[in-house]
Symmetry: C2
Subunit: 142 residues, 2 copies
């Protein structure tokens, strides 16, 4: 039976975070000591590790709550439910990647066009682009 900071050290989360996860139903201590300390048994530790792994992958706490409820009673849930959660997450990741890629392109082009020198910014091409509503889609750099 581990105390909270032992669990924390083991899975790499702070005790604060573990209590926070408990409040949100993700982690639980199946026992308490006489003085009220949380005590985690092997199953609790496994569950906490599941949560940590899922969080590392990038699942939201709400996703994790759903995955846990499936894990708790695998036989009354389908693989499809699991893949739905996973696929939704993948789509979300893909959307964000597309956004970031667009930003990356624009930022790179802005940097290509400004020398970044110490002279004053009176004719800075980056400021000009921002003043003119963005990169022209016609006309290209280089």
């Amino acid at each position: 039976m581990l105390k909270i900071s032992e669990l924390a050290g083991r899975i790499g989360l702070s005790a604060h975070t573990i209590r926070f996860y408990e409040k949100h139903g993700l982690i639980e201590a199946s026992e308490r000591s006489e003085s009220g300390y949380r005590l985690y048994n092997a199953a609790d530790v496994n569950r906490a590790e599941f949560v940590k792994t899922a969080r590392n992958i990038g699942f939201s706490l709400e996703d994790i709550a759903q995955l846990l409820s499936i894990r708790l009673d695998r036989s009354s849930h389908s693989c499809q439910e699991v893949t739905d959660i996973t696929r939704n997450k993948l789509h979300e990741v893909n959307r964000k990647m597309a956004e970031l890629e667009a930003m990356q392109k624009v930022l790179s082009r802005l940097l290509d066009n400004c020398d970044g020198g110490l002279e004053n910014a009176t004719h800075c091409s980056i400021l000009e682009v921002l003043d003119n509503g963005g990169l022209a889609t016609t006309g290209r750099v280089n």
Copy 2:
């Protein structure tokens, strides 16, 4: 001279958001009507458009505040200051992209390994991975 909702319609932000930006020093109305309505002149509109363009690109409001202070007095700032802000943003974007790419890979591999069928999740490979601390780095899919 535009009123706030006219400016809002013109640049594609809500009046709420414009007031919020004003509170944070990004947009300003250089005049007020007798009754206290905000009135935006051409320079105010240009500034608001600058803000909108920068936000579209993905700059944070704090970045934009810095860019604005350079824009306000270009001759006492250097191109380098502008490229520093831009480069920092690009690095941040690159970091986030790398994180998302890692997530993308893991999620894709999880989906490759589970058929997503309607049978029950007793032996679901995704849950197994989460139970076992993540994808093994040795051993590969396919």
